[in-house]
Amino acid sequence: MSASPSTAGDAQGYFDELVTAATESLTGAEVLLANVAGERTDFIRLNNGDVRQAGTIDQRVLSIDLIEGQRHVAGSISLSGERRSDDARVMALLARLREQRAHVLDDPFLLYNTDTVSTERVETGAIPAPDAALADIRTAAAGRDLVGIYASGDTYSGFGNSLGQRNWFQSATFNLDWCFYLRSDKAAKNLYAGFEWNEDAFAAKIDWSARQLAALERDPVDLPPGEYRTFLAPRAVEEITQLLSWYGAFGRRAHETRQTPLLKMLVDDVTLSPLVNISEDTGGGVAPNFQSSGFVRPDRVPLVTNGVYTDTLVSPRSAQEFGIATNGAGDDEEPESLAISPGDVPTDAVNEALGTGLYVGNLWYLNFSDQAACRTTGMTRFATFWMDDGEIVAPVNVLRFDDTAFHLLGDRLEGLTDSADVLLDTSTYGQRSTASQRLPGALVSAMRFVL
């Protein structure tokens, strides 16, 4: 799509100019923290190989926390990219924040970085023009029922403060998240994402999906509720770790207030399997290494070591509230680059390792049956197969499981695959996500299905 003067290419300089101008307007002992998040995204939504919706999103949001002593108020504005207009909006926002600050008391949990550690990470890419990408996708989809979304372009985020710190993260990526559908709910799910579109790599992905689609053509079977030996592919493991993350399993606030689903690890010294090592691996991820109060994250925070609870993600507010040091977590204290170390089950021989049981490619819509006990429910989705002696017998109609991570990643975990997949988060709520997980598959001796 044609470039505009307000593309991400000049976003870093523009952000610096806005923060500098806002800093010059501060009075007395005011301190300003600013964050920007933006994207210029081309998107193509597809159904049955044709375009359902396609277009471009050009957006940027500036957030400001205006501090005086321990009193502060925050706000955000969308930026137009036009300097005079944006300066006026920033000044209007600052005026409103000053007005509201008069009504608030000292915030005992306020903490921001005062060591000016500036960083920059810019990942450039070779992304095809939208019409070229569409042509490639439609060619690959010919004769098949392809449904999904292609999104590409620059995303960026920055931090700046009135103390002179500047942090910048920018990447140009593409992401094709799609299924080949066979019929009703039987589909082969796949993802092709990266910085550089490669036709051979894309063709390999298409070939993998086509082979899985062929396996789905057998008549599906209904399995009765019960316990089954199960292999969870990395995408299925991701659903479990994502649910745990959303509900504070790795966050300090949820631990301190006893809301973590890993509560039994704190109170009863329950452990996961000694095979399980979980960390926040910022150094190996694709997310920014700084957070909204200006703290720079360590490359790695160990969360569970050999199955034993080790540490949590601590936001600046939690650090103040609970009297510990922050490790640069965001306010939500959720991992953005979670990693589980691989094990020793050969990835290319998981079918043989499973033998007879369920191969679960994807799980879906997880939630808790009993959060304090980490009892979790959810559905199988897309390609789930019944295997006999390492061979596919038939696709399985959707099943509801109800089990706990203390079994699935605990006493019933037989092994993890010897390689881990990098799974980019395809979420686009508000803006394209930069989160990712690096996960192996998990071989489980028994998983409980209830419906």
Binding site: S78, S80, G81, R96, F109, W364, D370, T377, S427, T428
Partner: protein, 488 residues
């Protein structure tokens, strides 16, 4: 300039109108301005007040068999012109490759404004903060209550939809929404037992001003919420078994949403959502004959309910909205699909083509989806139960991608035996199958328990979108449901 909405600015409207090209089949500019204030007191301390101001426009062009979207927050003359060029280019690229080329028919002219009885601005910020601190004191009443909070979110959203087409037609729809989302939460803990009670989860919200607080009894709820969180600590786990299930309105919200609302969305039935939100067990041939529920089940799409979260005058394609039955006396009669989906599917629908904001194209969404009241009192329903559980306030939800096999968890349960409530149970949950569950509806309470609520964050779509949907319901009774409790 942050406080005054650009919707209503004649200069900006003139700029957008002038930018819409006259040489294309159909074009629209959808301007959205959102202003929000987030207030929360947690454990007696005020979180940083957060103010949100977001403005932008979505340009859409239908031309020559293609459709293009371009969203921008640059509302300058050159910014809007670039967006028009971008949308036009997308229409060129997609020509001949579209699932559908249907454009909204006609050009609507009209307006809508949320009913506001007591302006939120009549309550100064200091008073709003005092109210939250007061609630915090009522919540944090015991050392076993380890976390608690009181919150208020106020949102104002103004929208202007301008349309034009080659034949010279022009439309203009202006809508001004005022929302309030109150929240209360208390979490109690003893050992490995943690229990949370809330103010209707997130369901007690709506359009209006400060009167929304009184609508749900915000000022009287904190003490009950705190006491019930403590009560749950010593309550037994909900029993397991197949039994009768009475659902309070603040659980019915999610039951309606997940197992009636989503399955009836025509874009799911047409396959648009299969890669993300999922498909549906409902097929186009079921409309007009499928027995979705017992004959007690009457479900309306009703964007005209005053003060409900998703009331509006027009959807984001400009289609006028009105009350229509989706399920009548148990029979499925109509789907949840806007004009485009109706044309694609041949199924009758409603005015529900909606976008989360200026930066997303509209798709089929729920709006207000309500179970109409019956003629039993809640006491009569309780008295009719031999062996069952009365569940309140959603805390967990999960359903398969065809919206059939579901499981829900609630915050608070009451055991009912031989027509009497005999005690409180914790971690109550139940599971079932949509296509059979609603046929086991055996009782619908009357208007006394009918509560007008909403779900603020319904996720769907690629690109992902979150919108507010409204749900109203009385308490409802179901037979032969698989019920369970915690641990096991």
């Amino acid at each position: 300039m942050l406080i005054d909405s650009p919707v209503g600015s004649s200069e900006l409207e003139g700029r957008l109108r002038a930018a819409l090209p006259a040489d294309v089949d159909h074009a629209s500019a959808r301007l959205v301005d959102e202003r929000a204030e987030h207030l929360r007191v947690r454990r007696h301390e005020l979180d940083p007040i957060f103010n949100q101001f977001d403005t932008g426009v979505m340009i859409t062009i239908w031309h020559g068999g293609g459709i293009g979207y371009a969203a921008t927050s640059d509302l300058s003359e050159s910014g809007v012109a670039r967006a028009v060029d971008t949308a036009r280019e997308w229409a060129r690229i997609t020509a001949g490759a579209m699932v559908t080329t249907a454009a909204p028919s006609g050009h609507a002219v009209g307006s809508y404004e949320s009913p506001v009885e007591v302006s939120w601005d009549s309550m100064p910020l200091a008073d709003r903060l005092d109210l939250l601190h007061q609630q915090s004191r009522l919540l944090g009443i015991d050392d076993r209550i380890v976390d608690w909070s009181a919150s208020l979110v106020r949102r104002e959203v103004d929208q202007l939809l301008l349309t034009t087409s080659r034949d010279g037609g022009e439309g203009r729809v202006e809508q001004r929404f005022r929302f309030l989302y109150p929240g209360l939460r208390a979490t109690a803990n003893e050992g490995t037992n943690t229990q949370t009670r809330t103010f209707g989860a997130t369901a007690f919200c709506g359009q209006g001003g400060a009167e929304v607080l009184g609508r749900f009894g915000f000022g009287d709820a904190a003490t009950r919420i705190a006491e019930q969180s403590l009560e749950l600590l010593s309550a037994p786990n909900c029993p397991s078994g197949v039994m009768e299930l009475l659902l309070a309105p603040d659980q019915m919200v999610l039951q309606i949403h997940e197992s009636i609302g989503h399955p009836l969305e025509l874009d799911r039935i047409l396959g648009d959502e299969r890669n993300y939100a999922g498909t549906s067990f409902v097929t186009t041939d079921m409309f007009g004959s499928f027995p979705y529920g017992s004959d007690l089940l009457n479900v309306t799409f009703d964007p005209t309910v005053p003060g409900q979260l998703a009331s509006y005058g027009f959807d984001d394609d400009g289609t006028p909205a009105r009350r229509q039955h989706l399920i009548e006396n148990g029979v499925l009669v109509r789907g949840l699909g806007g004009e485009v989906s109706q044309e694609r599917s041949g199924v009758p629908g409603v005015a529900n083509s909606r976008a989360t904001s200026w930066n997303r194209p509209p798709i089929d969404r729920m709006a207000n989806l309500n179970v109409e009241p019956g003629d039993s009192t809640v006491d009569e329903l309780v008295n009719s139960i031999e062996d069952g559980v009365y569940m309140h306030t959603n805390t967990s939800w999960s359903i398969d991608d065809s919206r059939n096999k579901f499981q829900f968890g609630c915050e608070y349960g009451q055991r009912v035996v031989d027509g009497e409530i005999v005690g409180t149970v914790r971690n109550p949950g139940y599971r079932g199958v949509s296509s059979t569950f609603w046929r086991n509806l055996t009782g619908v309470a009357d208007r006394d328990s009918f509560t007008v609520m909403g779900t603020p964050n319904c996720g769907k779509g690629e690109l992902n979108q979150q919108v507010g949907t409204g749900h109203a319901s009385p308490a409802c009774l179901f037979a032969d449901v698989e019920v369970f409790g915690g641990e096991q």
